[in-house]
Amino acid sequence: MSSGQLSRDAVLWQLFAVGVAVLPHLVHLPLWIPLLVVISLLWRFMAHLGRWSFPSRWIKLLFVIVTGLAVLFSYRAGGGISVTVSLLVVGFSLKTLEVYKQRDALVVLYVAYLVAATGFLFSQTILIALYLLAAFAVITSGLLSVYQLRPKGLLKTFKRSCLLLLPALPLMAVLFIGMPRFGPLWEVGLDRSAARTGLSETMSPGDISSLIRSPEVAFRATFEAEVPAQSQLYWRALVLNDFDGREWFNAQSVKDKSSIASDLGRNGFSYSLILEPTQKRYVPALAYPVVPLGTKLSLFSDATVEYGLPITSRQQFTMKSDPSLKYHGDLDHDQRKRLLHLPEGNVQSKQLALKWLAESDSEAEFVQKVLAYFNQSFSYSLQPPLLGRNSVDEFLFDTQIGFCGHFSSAAALLLRAAGIPARVVTGYQGGDLNPYENYIVVRQYDAHAWVEAWLDGRGWVRIDPTASVAPERIENAAEDVFSTDDGFLEDNPFYAFSLKSSGLAEEIRLRLEAINYGWHRWVLNYHHQQSSVLSSILGSLSAIKLAAFLLVPFALVIGVTVLLLIRKGRPRASNVYDREVFRLSEKLKIKGLSRAKGETVNAYCARLSNVMPASSQLFVSLAGEYERARYAEAAELSGQEFSRIVDQCIGVFRSH
């Protein structure tokens, strides 16, 4: 059955399906692969037209060897799913070259389904989803065309396959909502080429500026209650405790788990984060987080939160924070020593710190002096001069231009030199509030670095030296502050353009962003909402209820589909006389006098007149008129007259 030759229409559908399935992959595949696809499709199309001949076996063999080597060469650095996808794409575009029989077509189409679906591993926007839904219909048309006996025209086949697909959509929705989701069976990583920007594990002056040029979304946050003020939105991600004179980092790879209780104080609030993939484990959190037991999140003694695995795909977390939470007993000797340690160098800065310390009465006063100093003559820029070995000295006394990385690095050093334990915290500051959905988008350009200092009697206190240089940098979203700076978003001309528009354009942008947010929350991250969605539909969850939820719609949709097909297929007499006899038979059904299957009208009328001997004349005439109307050359009675006789017959039975 599957060895027959393909019809001409079917060949065209195969080519079309392959093209449609490959299209979304073109952006991330090495350039030669799309070229190969085009050549294969073109060659097969020319063969279809009869202009070119099919490639000989040697040419095909050559193709296989060359492309196989090319894939190996293109991905010699490794590339996870990309390699698989490109092998699939190369393989099935070569297979297209020799599509001739039904069996070939099946291989091509099944792989086309796979290739189309893997498009979602690289992009998950609404547009891609719509596109791939259409691609699904095209591939299904290809499959349908393989089994069509008579070519019906490309458009008709497509329409037919859409009709087949339509009832499948509600079933898909039911499966999507109800099907239980499980964690990954084995660990997979997206390839490096698809890696997203994120915070670095270390910070040296200049690091964050590459992030600041990116408008990519870092995460989105929804607050259950009121959204805290911009100036309170310090999303702590990483705490860097060690300094080598230029770079801040963490010398110890193992961090202490926090022993804090998981309940909140009066000031607690909860929010949920949808984190974009970073390939790292950190999860930004507002000060100071607690983590519910039984989640994959771990909380550390420096009040940072980490996920159990590197975050390779978009993840959603429910978080709780309380700014008044105390994360410390006291610093022990080792901790204090570590937090005060400074390497050699940066001598001038250390001296300055000691001088200020001598002038100050308290630690708080010293901190004020540091901030005041930054406020004097420093300026904020995203394109500061490069710094050398003693980066802090050069920055403080020489260049005096920089951004958060420079300021926090210098401030932490000054604090430590004065004997105040200090550490650098990197993360994000602020975010963009979307009024339509009441959530905050935090983009990479919101990346920020600040300092936390241990003040006796007060514990860890957040100090943001950048705020004293450019306070508006903190009080407004980064977008507003930086949009005058040339370095800001210089790699994204389109985005920069959209920033300058305002009013209506801004509203549209926010609306689109809101739709996008709903898409992320309800579709892309559905597995986090599933239990709450299901329990809101079904009440308390049980296996039986879930099974019913999955099966009942299936029975319903299938029932309706079959009913529609059968109703459409109910026998309908093509002429008025048969219809009228049918009407009579239906009317008499209750009396058990319907026409038997295969019974002639003549016999039926005879049977009726046996039941009603008084009116037998009527039935005889009905039978006679029927015969004449159907089998004589010309009908003597019009349909209306015939229908009147039928009415009389019905009337006879009604009066009894």
């Binding site: 059955m1 599957s2 099946l106 893997t118 087949l164 898909m172 499966l175």
Partner: protein
Amino acid sequence: MYAFFAPIKRWSDQWAAKRRPKGHSIELNQKRIFIFPTAAGWGYLLVCCVLILIGLNYQNNLVYAFAFLLISLGVLTIHYTFLNLSGLNISAIRTRNCFAKENADFIVKAFSNCQRDYESIELNWEGQPGIKVALDKGVSKEVVLNVKTIKRGFVNPGALRIQTVYPLGLLRAWSWIDLQMDAVAYPIPIEGPSPDKDLEHSEGEQGRSRGGDDFSGLEEYQAGHSTRHIAWKQFAQGKGLLTKHYSGQKSKDVWLRWADWPGASSERRLSIMTYWALQLENQGIRYGLELTGSRLPPAIGPEHLEAVLTNLALYGEESHLRIKR
């Protein structure tokens, strides 16, 4: 291994044959339609599983959605495939006899009262190549199914399989029905000695002598008249089918008797008789048939020929089935 399963297979075949609907016109319904995934259907399932795995491992809900759409479509296809067979009516129309080792034709009609199209339905007799048909709504279609015969006698093609994999090839729906159609395979004609010595030497003169016969007029064509004597010229003039009548045409009846070919095996005898029946029919000479247990008086014409050939074909088979004339 095969020997071990043979009794089971025989038993299940018998069971299936007993359950098989019999009749000259059979409508396919849920009681008679079987459905099972094809190899392509299992492949499709594999694609679904691979996608679920990808969705699982990459925690990608859209890949899940794609896989769920494939699964839903697959489940619906069970019904689409079933409905492409359900309500279809197959009836036996007629058969066309043949000579042994040729193809006997069985003509069946497919139609449906249901107002929907039927696409790509394959009909085949057990072990015979299939024919695919498509029906537009409300249109019936006659299908000629031929069966290669092996030897003379009744040709019973066995059960007819009606199957379809439309629309997506994932499932095969099929039904076995027994239309109780029989054709007859005549013996293979083999040239042999003439049944009548006169015929043998008059044969050479026959053409001549007929040419010398006097044309005596035209009479209206009746079934049984030799088609060689039809007056085509008059027919072309629109005067109807007329037969030329020759006054000198005096046919001598020829008997084909079992005893006329002593020495030949019985199958060979039947073949030679078949040959001569065809020859005599062709030459316009009346001929009769005498076999043990049956006798057909001399006559001529296609119907007579068919009766003679059928009797020859069924010689030795159950006598009550023989066509008597």
